[in-house]
């Protein structure tokens, strides 16, 4: 038997991700894709699987899939074909799912992301389109109800190679992928609503006594938060090592692969079922649909229309506009906000000030409202004007926060608001000098330290500046205050 100190190990994680595409209607019929509608109210003969009904492919869903494939650097199959996957389940009215088997929309790509500031890359095996199933509802004892509103909702299933080696990398991959699909506009990517469902497959390579062992693969079903992705992977990593230490035959091929679920409350994965033998889905070509074909020229037009990927956009903010990487990450977190930022830069404001505003000022106001910066309804021009006012010392940084708050409720220009709120910065030396005298009078010890105690001078001077700003209710110009205090202290020391 080995103990933990005798072994080295490496985590191996791959992903299957279901992305619900943001089409108005279902994949094969005209029913609305709508969350929360009364049960079975968004159905028709096609998605109910009634006798004689036939599917017709939603062109938009196909285009979204192609866009995603292109953004994942995949090859797009010239001819992508539909297949039926057979299994019996009450929420699957035809008892087969129309999916894609050997000729998916896209295959053989890669996706780049950053994890803890380090560049990472994962291979994409394939991305195929398929229809979602309905929902079985077990609320009533002794009876199962079926809601088919979700049946036929378009899903893009993205499959990666098992190339991820840490829970942090997995977390970073999932968040960046979600950002990508929302950037592309192909999905709303809302995890709570199940619009993105992550299924990591996890095992561990263990080296012990000069031999290499691999634990059975466990697939964690339907994770719908980034936190649970990280939690499940961390938990599985340790569990599989411990299970192997307890039983060295716990290895792939000797023991079945497993389906497991994530218990969010307890922070553990729970065994669901062993995968003794592969289920026979009896895939065969769907005779009711014709293959979807793509032409190179059409692919080029789609490729040309793709928005810049968030990762690249962030790099441009850092490299070209001099933002720090963390601020850049916040700005590109959603596409509309990033677009707003670019528009404000275009309107003539300094990127650095805008960066500070987006991250510290606008982002906070948005967070208070449970919204994104782009949802605040402030135009790029007004955002740019406020940034310029700060840069030109027309308002202090502190006052800018108050002006920004007022901008949410008033269409007036920020300058006008600053004036009417009495926040327009005071550049008048006399008025500022009076505030300084007031502060000096109230803080004699600090004045002494600032003027004569080399150990405390710097801190004391800073304290005095803060007091002046406070007395002026933020209207004083910090630069002017600093200069006048310095002069006043020099005066003080020559007097002594």
């Amino acid at each position: 038997m080995y103990s933990e100190k005798d072994i080295t190990h490496r985590l191996i994680v791959g992903f299957e991700i279901h992305v619900q595409l943001a089409t108005r209607t279902k994949l094969f019929c005209g029913c609305a894709v709508e969350f929360g509608a009364p049960p079975n109210s968004r159905t028709c003969p096609v998605c109910l699987g009634l006798p004689g009904a036939l599917p017709v492919m939603n062109r938009r869903a196909f285009e979204f899939s192609v866009d995603t494939g292109l953004a994942l650097n995949c090859a797009i199959n010239r001819l992508s074909k539909w297949d039926r996957k057979s299994y019996y389940y009450p929420d699957l009215p035809k008892n087969y799912q129309t999916s894609q088997y050997d000729l998916p929309v896209a295959c053989d790509g890669f996706f780049e992301f950053n994890a803890n500031g380090q560049p990472r890359r994962i291979s994409i095996l394939r991305a195929h389109l398929e229809e979602d199933a309905g929902k079985n509802i077990h609320d009533t004892p002794g009876c199962t109800l079926v809601d088919l509103n979700r049946t036929g909702t378009p899903l893009l299933e993205i499959v990666t190679l098992p190339e991820i080696e840490s829970a942090d990398d997995a977390y970073a991959f999932c968040t960046e992928l979600q950002r990508l699909v929302t950037y592309l506009g192909v999905s709303h990517g809302n995890m709570q609503m199940g619009q993105m469902r992550f299924e990591p497959n996890i095992n561990v390579e263990i080296n012990a006594g000069g031999e290499t062992f691999r634990t059975p693969i466990s697939e964690i079903k339907n994770l719908n938060s980034f936190r649970s992705v990280r939690g499940a992977i961390e938990y599985e990593y340790q569990r599989q090592i411990q299970d192997w230490l307890a039983d060295n035959d716990y290895v792939i091929n000797d023991r079945p692969n497993e389906n497991r679920g994530w218990d969010d409350d307890r922070g553990v994965t729970v065994f669901q079922r062993g995968k003794e033998a592969a289920h026979d889905y009896r895939y065969f070509p769907e005779p009711d649909l014709v293959p979807a074909t793509t032409e190179e020229a059409w692919l080029e037009t789609r490729r040309a229309k793709l928005p810049m990927a968030p990762l690249k956009r962030r790099a441009e903010l850092v490299n070209n506009l001099g933002l720090n990487p963390d601020d850049a990450a916040v700005i590109v977190s959603d596409r509309a906000t990033a677009d707003l930022f670019d528009a404000a830069v275009e309107a003539g404001a300094s990127p650095k000030t805008l960066g500070k505003h987006f991250v510290n000022l606008w982002a906070k106001l948005a967070a208070d409202r449970d919204a994104r910066v782009c949802d605040l309804g402030i135009s790029a021009d007004r955002i740019a004007e406020l940034a310029n006012m700060v840069d030109q010392d027309s308002v202090s940084a502190t006052s800018a926060v108050k002006v920004a708050g007022a901008m949410l409720d008033s269409p007036d220009s920020p300058m006008k608001l600053a004036e009417s709120m009495g926040l327009r910065a005071v550049l008048d030396t006399g008025e500022t000098q009076a505030w300084i005298e007031q502060a000096f009078a109230a803080n004699e010890q600090a004045v002494r330290d600032a003027a004569g105690n080399p150990k405390k001078a710097k801190a004391a001077a800073g304290f005095l500046r803060g007091q002046v700003m406070k007395i002026s209710a933020g209207k004083a110009n910090p630069k002017l205050v600093g200069a006048l205090i310095e002069a006043r202290l020099r005066e003080q020391s020559t007097q002594e």
Binding site: L50, P51, G52, Y88, P90, N95, A278, D280, R282, D288
Partner: protein
């Protein structure tokens, strides 16, 4: 009723009769004769007369009516209709009424046709004799101890027995042509994609096609021109290929044409009387100006095997939805979902349907897929190539429709393989997607009708119909069955 579709449309158009009178005559014929043949699963007298009155009202008001105004039509009961049940002659759908209507039925109704009822079939269109109906057995219009043929037996008998001038059938491997030949009427399987399948309860989706059964070729052309055409609800429907018929407008002379005859279609198992009539029929085509050319269809001998793999594979998937959960028969003795599925299906399906579901499930199973299904797809391609080659040399290919005339009721029910061989000449047209027509060409020693099959190039139904029209002119091969003879 003796009138053809053309006669009825002409007479109503001239005001010589009314839609109500025509429909009433059809209903009277059904009332008089259907008890002997049992072609109809249901008859909608009231609805039909009301629809006829509406046609008459429009005519009286000078409003536009369609090209089938006042024509009674029967619909095979695997084609969805509003108001009338769609049973597929199965216990599974015995009480099922579709909430929507098939594309072809919409087209018929808007052309002014009057749906008088739904006709019997082999359960889910699986059979060649009509003996697989779970409801009751339809028998031949020419002899009650002979089978009607299948699976569109009810539709063929309804036309042959003069109860309606036209009916719709569906053809997956010969299901229109075989019963048409057994009952001495014209049956056309259009090119795959010519007619919308929307609302046709699927058996073999890549093979199924709806087509007309009529007394003569001109009527088939008239009905086809109504049911063919674009339907965006069927992805396999070929757009922009409306069927515009020359003969429906009185243009009856086909261009000079060549007829291919393949020795593969005249081999073992072909009854002598059928061979004689079909050869005579080919001779008659020669008299009409056709040049006869020997051709080869080397993969024809694999057509039946290929067909039964592909059709059953698709059927096993198409029929998976009948599980007792959402609609259709549900068992009363289930303790869990597995029992609900298995008991509902055991109780709801007949033996032949179960046999085909099992066959199809087997050929798609992992480990067998390559040996059966994949190989069948390859053979299908070869069969299609045979036809492409043949049609470089000839305009149409002539063959028997079936190796025998209508066999006796019960004769083949215990021997599924013998039953499957009834489709030996018809399945290849479905595998290749070609149009094919069954034309009456004589009678055997017992007076049973014999059918000549003509297959044409893709989308060349007009040529087939024009030849068939000329062929039938001046013959009485397509006379009504003795059932219509009042002296009987």
């Amino acid at each position: 009723m003796n009138q053809s579709v053309y006669d009825i449309v002409t007479a109503i158009g001239k005001g010589e009769t009314t839609a109500r009178a025509v429909v009433a005559e059809s209903l009277a014929a059904i009332a008089a004769r259907d008890a002997q043949v049992r072609a109809f699963v249901c008859v909608d007298g009231e609805g039909a007369l009301a629809a006829a009155d509406e046609v008459d009202r429009r005519l009286a008001a000078g409003e536009r009516v369609g090209p089938l105004a006042g024509v009674p039509v029967a619909i095979k009961d695997n084609i969805c209709t509003l108001n009338l049940p769609t049973t597929c002659a199965s216990r599974m759908l015995e009480d099922y009424t579709s909430p929507y209507e098939a594309g072809v039925v919409e087209r018929l109704r808007s052309a002014g046709a009057i749906v008088v009822g739904k006709t019997n079939l082999d359960e889910f269109a699986m059979g060649s004799s009509n003996e697989n109906s779970a409801l009751f057995r339809t028998v031949n219009a020419w002899s009650p101890d002979r089978v009607a043929g299948g699976s569109s037996g009810g539709s063929a008998v309804a036309v042959a027995a003069g109860m309606v001038p036209c009916a719709l059938g569906s053809d997956t491997g010969g299901s229109i042509r075989l019963p048409a030949s057994f009952n001495g009427v014209v049956g056309l399987k259009p090119t795959y994609g010519r007619v919308s399948r929307y609302g046709l309860v699927a058996f073999g989706s890549s093979l199924d096609q709806i087509g007309p059964i009529t007394r003569d070729a001109r009527d088939a052309a008239i009905v086809l021109s109504v049911i063919a055409g674009d339907d965006a609800r069927d992805s396999t429907n070929v757009r922009g290929r409306p069927f515009i018929s020359g003969i429906a407008d009185g243009e009856t002379t086909p261009d000079p044409f060549s007829v291919g005859v393949a020795s593969e279609c005249f081999g073992e198992g072909l009854a002598g009387s059928v061979r004689a009539s079909v050869e005579a029929g080919i001779g008659r085509l020669g008299e009409l100006g056709a040049e006869t050319v020997d051709i080869r269809l080397p993969h024809m001998e694999y057509a039946i095997a290929c067909y039964y793999i592909i059709a059953t594979a698709e059927a096993s998937s198409n029929l998976a939805r009948y599980d007792g959960v959402h609609y259709g028969h549900r068992t009363s003795r289930a303790d869990d979902i597995f029992e609900l599925y298995s008991h509902s299906r055991v109780e709801g399906f007949g033996a032949e349907v179960k046999r085909r579901i099992m066959l199809g499930t087997y050929v798609l199973s992992s480990g067998y897929y390559d040996a059966y299904y994949k190989k069948a797809l390859q053979v299908r391609t070869l069969i299609r190539r045979d036809f492409e080659k043949a049609f470089e040399k000839v305009d149409v290919i002539a063959s028997p429709v079936a190796p025998t005339t209508a066999f006796r009721v019960g004769e083949k029910t215990d021997d599924p393989l013998a039953m499957y061989l009834a489709d030996v000449y018809t399945t290849s047209a479905n595998l290749a997607g070609l149009p094919a027509i069954s034309i009456p060409c004589g009678f055997d020693e017992d007076g049973m009708p014999i059918g000549l099959q003509l297959m044409g190039r893709w989308f060349e139904e007009d040529r087939l119909l024009a030849i068939a029209h000329r062929f039938l002119e001046g013959t009485d091969y397509n006379r009504l069955s003795p059932l219509c003879n009042p002296a009987r």
